[in-house]
């Protein structure tokens, strides 16, 4: 399969070369980066596509936020005073509480 594809590709190339030799014209190379990821679409098309993807993302995140925030959250019970928990060797700049907003 691969060899036949390669052979047909070579035949096409040879035919093109022959045609060029006959006419004496220089081959016209397309001014395009065919192997570039964005070679196949124009930027206006891509802009519209990514705009739609962004809107889909915003809608998904909004639905997820409403669902999550309306659910509420549970509070965990206070753990026993294990020695590796709540290590306090010195004060925070705002006091002993780790939370700057609830510091007194």
């Amino acid at each position: 399969m691969a060899t036949s594809m390669a052979r047909s590709g070579l035949q096409v190339a040879a035919a093109a070369l022959r045609a060029e030799a006959k006419s004496g014209a220089r081959p016209v190379l397309p001014n395009k980066r065919n192997f570039s990821a964005s070679a196949h679409h124009d930027d206006a098309y891509e802009t519209a596509k990514w705009e739609k993807i962004t809107y889909a993302g915003i809608v998904t995140c909004t639905v997820l936020s409403i669902y999550n925030l309306s659910k509420g959250h549970h509070h965990l019970p206070e753990p026993p005073p294990y020695p590796y928990l709540r290590i306090r060797n010195k004060e925070f700049p705002w006091g002993m509480s780790p939370n700057i907003f609830t510091a007194c």
Partner: protein, 293 residues
């Protein structure tokens, strides 16, 4: 204030406004620049930034130990660094936009610089995920031989952590929208796309703040707290830096600095933003989800 062109430019056949020579000191580049590189003018900002960094580190050490005036020196140092960042980047933007020094050859420098910077950032965050995995894959006896350690309350990964994870990739889609809009010459759409990008980024930071506020553990709660808050905290810090970077790009797009052919600053911001939004998936899977159940 830029010095006026020295008179010998005219005597040597210079004149006209076409040349790229900028100061009298560069008298040897008489008519026109015969290369595509940017020979920068002397600048005070490297030394001012260095002095700011010195004041910040010395002030920081003084602040964390019982010395007088540490907080003042630290604040002064930080203000000095922020000022230097502002004026230095302001100068770079002027050199690029008004003076036209950023040729294709010059643009390669910031491109390589941005890529290498992002590679170093990947390595930096990798170290924190390594620390978390090191501590959680074989938990020591001191923390009960289990992960999360005995007594540690963890966040439910299906709540805010799961909610926050798709917000950053959505923001990544919005920055891609902005990129294509710039390439297509749709200047207004690009500004709207950047507003969407930044809004999603701010929502993400807001949820992260809410999550920290409600978190049942703190950074001083065992190795779990240390690894959890250093990894997620540094990621959150990178989100904030990326947001500032994108805000600057949005302002520059609004002011018309970015063109179809020349928008290196935007590209660097977009690369950085994709790095930040992809990296978010790692803490979600390995720290919140695997490490929290």
């Amino acid at each position: 204030m830029r010095p006026k062109r020295a008179p010998f430019f005219t005597t040597l056949g210079g004149g006209g406004e076409g040349g790229l020579h900028t100061t009298g000191a560069k008298w040897f580049m008489i008519e026109s620049q015969r290369h595509s590189y940017h020979l920068v003018d002397p600048s005070p900002w490297p030394i001012s930034g260095s002095l700011g960094a010195l004041a910040t580190t010395v002030g920081g050490v003084m602040y964390m130990h019982p010395f007088q005036g540490g907080a003042t020196l630290l604040s002064l140092g930080l203000i000095f660094i922020l000022y230097t960042m502002f004026v230095w980047w302001r100068d770079v933007l002027r050199e690029s936009t008004l003076e036209g020094h950023h040729t294709k050859a010059v643009q390669l420098g910031p491109r390589y610089g941005s890529i290498l910077f992002i590679v170093s950032e990947v390595m930096f965050l990798f170290a924190f995920f390594w620390a978390s995995s090191h501590s959680s894959l074989a938990p020591t006896v001191e923390i009960g031989g289990i992960w999360p350690p005995k007594g540690i309350g963890v966040l439910d990964p299906r709540e805010i952590p799961f909610l926050n994870t798709p917000i950053l990739p959505s923001s990544g889609a919005a920055v891609t929208w902005a990129h294509h809009a710039i390439l297509a010459g749709k200047e207004k759409r690009a500004v709207y796309a950047l507003v969407a990008t930044v809004s999603l980024a701010l929502v993400s930071t807001g949820f992260q703040g809410m999550e920290y506020y409600q978190a049942p553990s703190t950074i001083s709660d065992s190795i779990y707290g240390s690894t959890f808050f250093s990894a997620t905290g540094f990621h959150g810090f990178h989100v904030i830096i990326g947001t500032l970077f994108l805000i600057i790009c949005g302002i520059r797009q609004y002011l018309g600095h970015l063109t179809k052919e020349h928008h290196v600053g935007f590209e660097a911001a977009a690369w950085y933003w994709h790095f930040v939004d992809v990296v978010r998936l790692f803490p979600f899977v390995s720290i919140y989800w695997w490490g929290g159940i």
